[in-house]
Symmetry: C2
Subunit: 121 residues, 2 copies
């Protein structure tokens, strides 16, 4: 893990990242933790404490829902599922990110940029 990435550069994207993972199927905390590391190509680790904080936040806001897995041995894995409003939220966040990315390019690079502006979505 090179981890060049300062926490402030990711700040604000945590929720979007989690929602993206959950959009591809239900998952539980530790697995999501591993998935994010893998997705980043081992470049970024979203810390566990941050993750679990985000789960609370997202659930409270109704973007995800949780249920315990039926592991039959102890109260093991807590699974998360993305809700409909969660999917909407993800789409919105993704748009915002594309928008912000373009503005940031303008602000960080010197003058006027060519145009690498295709929100895709």
């Amino acid at each position: 893990m090179a981890s060049n990435i300062s926490t402030d550069l990711i700040r604000g994207h945590t929720d979007t990242i989690i929602l993206n993972v959950l959009q591809q199927g239900d998952s539980y905390g530790y697995q999501i933790y591993k998935t994010i590391i893998a997705l980043s190509g081992n470049q970024y680790e979203l810390k566990e404490a941050t993750l679990y904080t985000a789960f609370r936040r997202l659930e409270k806001e109704g973007y995800i829902a949780s249920y315990w897995g039926d592991e039959t041995q102890g109260g093991r894995r807590k699974y998360y599922r993305i809700t409909e409003t969660g999917v909407e939220r993800y789409r919105k966040n993704k748009q915002d990110w594309h928008f912000a990315k373009n503005v940031l390019n303008q602000l960080i690079e010197g003058g006027i940029q060519n145009e690498e502006n295709k929100p895709g979505s």
Copy 2:
């Protein structure tokens, strides 16, 4: 000012943005404030309080230096100049941003991205 951009999406880029402005010539607080709004195409306003906080931070760390303009009427404009380490810092920050941007794309968009990976500089 549509200001779609949440503060958390910019967080961590403030210093880089300021250094970028100062790289194109000395300037003073209020002008930098206006320049950033213009540079963003009126899409983003870096708040004054944030700016002045950043000036302190950057000066303390030796990335910028300040001097009073010779307005001869009152202690008017405080100009800022980017230092050599400031220029280096800017370059580093820009690289970090390109790197983080690519990782973020991976984390926010679903699967594996094509490749829009040319750090430029």
